[in-house]
Assembly symmetry: C2
Homo-oligomer: 236 residues x 2
DNA sequence: TGTACATCAGTGAACGCGCGTTCACTGATGTAC
DNA sequence: TGTACATCAGTGAACGCGCGTTCACTGATGTAC
């Protein structure tokens, strides 16, 4: 699918490869700008080529189709938001779990507000006819894994007396085995819900569902996310 | 904006008005079918006209522009999901608050799964360039009001010791005054979060963010939503 | 270091398609007297 | 009940636009000997 040829790092880069990498980046940058202006549906290879002063067919030397360009943008968006959150989270004292959680979610929201169309690209409606290739899976899981990591550092928290259906418990156990060995299923279920709450609340804000109800979005977000953190028993 | 001329109910409907109402409905039905197949971005007046055997300009007698047709579909979608949830909720004993909550959220999810593109239309990415007119506000608030109604019947629940920022408290107080006189701000804040959790979780499922993590979607949804209901102290 | 060949980037024309919207028009339905 | 006029639905042609993708091509860059 997405066959943008990236030079293996450290390999001798001759002039051609360097120019190629630069132009690939330039195409993505222009595409990202147009995405920010008119949304994913309106993203067109021809418009990108026009802005770059190329003929439209030249873009096909870099991206074999429109979908491949979209995939590249999706991967970049996942990586950008993952990097922003990871960077913010790293700055907090490892023992301050609530601080790590709040740093993560605030960085997430800040990135989303700064890049609403890229946010919509990865967390909004799926694009009809577009099938996400394998390449998007790893970048997509960076952020949930960051959150699960914080919860994992918290360790197991005894569950309430709600019982988890057997099938769900199996799913959670599998996830625990590969991503969060220190927590029990109850706590991991809460972590998934927390991740969903984060995306849900930011989407509500960006997509206008809190319009005229909440005015201090940042204050409301912080308040609610502190509540979620408390639910995860992250406070010291 | 949306000037689909609807005959005032009870007014004498002559043949022309009856045919007009029927065709208006037929256009919307066909548009909804095409929406379900190819998504909102691909919805085209010409394709709708083609399927109806009309010439494309004839559709303009019913909807003055593509955006007006979209608005009509959005309003209908909000009303359909609101009606489905309301109907399910009404069947439950008024005193069984948890039952009313679960009936509401299950009806919501069922409708969403049956109409994924309509769901995306109202809860997914906003359509670039499309500005929702006033007409969509009332239908959009049916479902949140239903949820707030359940919480209101629960009555005030003492908050935890987290403090609510002054600005957020003001927003919540205003909402309480017009929609939920019986609850305090703490509880109303939880109700908003519950609404966001519901949409967030269904979006995660429909938009593929739980792919390969959760397999028993229904079991997981019920489990998590019971948790949310418990957080709202709805259980008897 | 120089030459012959292979690789690659970019061009320009073309294919075939679809779209929203406007407009002058015909003919049918409804209304007022 | 019949007639004259006004309203409305649907037609067909047109405007002006943009899109993704393919293909044979030129000329520049890189590679192997």
């Amino acid at each position: 699918m997405h066959s943008e040829r990236v030079s293996t790092p450290g390999a001798p880069q001759n002039a051609r490869a360097r120019v190629r990498a630069e132009l690939t980046k330039e195409i993505k940058d222009v595409a990202r700008r147009q995405l920010a202006e008119s949304g994913a549906a309106a993203l067109s290879l021809r418009a990108v080529a026009r802005e770059l002063g190329m003929v439209s067919s030249a873009v096909y030397r870099y991206f074999p189709s429109r979908d491949d360009l979209l995939t590249a943008l999706i991967v970049d968006a996942y990586e950008a938001v993952g990097a922003a959150a990871t960077k913010a989270e790293k700055r907090v004292n490892r023992k301050d779990l609530m601080g790590r959680w709040m740093a993560t979610v605030r960085a997430f929201r800040t990135w989303a507000i700064a890049h609403p169309q890229e946010y919509a690209l990865i967390f909004g409606s799926p694009i009809p006819g577009y099938k996400a290739p394998q390449d998007t899976i790893d970048p997509a899981s960076r952020l949930p894994l960051l959150i699960i990591g914080i919860v994992n550092d918290r360790g197991a928290v005894p569950g309430a007396d709600r019982l988890i259906p057997r099938s769900v418990r199996a799913d959670l156990r599998a996830l625990s085995a590969q991503a969060a060995p220190e927590v029990n299923e109850e706590q991991l279920g809460r972590a998934i819900m927390a991740w969903s709450q984060l995306v849900g609340l930011v989407s509500f804000e960006l997509f206008g569902h809190l319009h005229n109800v909440i005015h201090d979005y940042k204050g409301h977000f912080d308040f609610q996310m502190q509540g979620v953190g408390a639910g995860l028993v992250l406070a010291q």
